[in-house]
């Protein structure tokens, strides 16, 4: 009951009747994501997606446009960073990292037509956006990270990277 009251106070509910009832009388009706939907060229990682799928798509983008942007929100931050690290393993890439908050609004409505107000909750979720370039960028911001020096200095930096063809496993019948 104390936990429910804390939630109601955080949501700035002023109605006394709503303050005395618990969250069990409410249900989540709508979730509004207050951020721009990413372009088709951006690799948007999901928490439960497969890493090799993200890596394959980002290698295709690198081949065509010589730069790729990888983004991840919430639990997908881990996947986004892992795809960037896998790409950096084979090639020397220039990296630019930006971290930011994404606000998500949830609207909770009362169940069973009770005389209660709607509740709006604002949540801030951490997110990361990683930009990888083959060529050195002209403007280097705060999140710039140069390619790491490898142990063998004779490693050539290829102008046109050649990637292995991705062959997915055949589906079981």
């Amino acid at each position: 009951l104390l936990y429910n009251k804390i939630i109601l106070r955080l949501c700035h509910v002023t109605d006394e009747q709503s303050m005395n009832t618990g969250m069990e009388n409410y249900e989540k009706k709508e979730v509004i994501k207050n951020f721009k939907v990413a372009d088709k060229d951006v690799v948007k990682c999901s928490q439960h997606g497969k890493l090799h799928g993200f890596v394959h798509f980002s290698k295709k983008q690198l081949n065509e446009k010589r730069s790729v942007t990888i983004s991840g929100i919430g639990g997908a931050v881990n996947k986004a960073v892992s795809t960037a690290e896998l790409l950096k393993k084979d090639l020397d890439l220039h990296q630019t990292n930006t971290i930011y908050f994404v606000t998500i609004t949830e609207i909770w409505t009362p169940k069973n037509n009770q005389n209660l107000q709607n509740i709006e909750v604002d949540r801030k979720v951490p997110a990361i956006s990683i930009k990888l370039d083959i060529e050195e960028p002209t403007e280097k911001g705060a999140g710039y990270q140069p390619p790491e020096l490898t142990s063998s200095p004779d490693k050539p930096i290829s102008r046109q990277p050649k990637f292995k063809k991705f062959n997915p496993k055949p589906k079981r019948k």
Binding site: V77, N78, V81, S82, A84, E85, K89, I99, P126, A142
Partner: protein, 126 residues
């Protein structure tokens, strides 16, 4: 790891902590510790210690928490602080103890890590 125990149940894995540098202004964030305490610790290093910057590190699932911590401090500072993030790959070495034969072998895993530098800016918002 589930794959190792499924193939050979007599192998016991011991995870070793990764080698890391220890500095006064370095903070390692974990998912097991309370978030508010970690946030206060980072804020105290910047505010009371009068140091130039704080380095916050996190491995694997703790990366989300590290980003949250850095951005919360930036909001609290009202323009006094700025953030700069870098990502790395960390090699983790595990010891595998064979309980039947007594042999000790090792394996190397890779994990992603993030380090965020929270530093003072020259501009002060009035």
């Amino acid at each position: 790891m589930a794959s190792i125990s499924a193939k050979s149940p007599e192998l016991r894995m011991k995870k070793n902590a990764p080698a890391h540098s220890r500095g006064i202004n370095e903070l390692y964030v974990d998912n097991t510790q309370p978030f508010n305490q970690q946030l206060e610790r980072a804020w105290r290093i910047l505010d009371e210690g009068k140091l130039d910057h704080v380095l916050v590190h996190g491995i694997g699932p703790a990366m989300q928490r590290v980003i949250n911590l850095a951005l919360q401090i930036k909001l609290r500072g009202n323009g006094m602080f700025d953030v700069s993030a870098t990502t790395h790959t960390v090699h983790l070495h595990d010891d595998l103890n064979d309980t039947d034969t007594g042999l000790v072998t090792s394996q190397t895993r890779r994990n992603s890590s993030i380090s965020i530098k929270i530093f003072r800016t020259l501009n002060v918002v009035s």
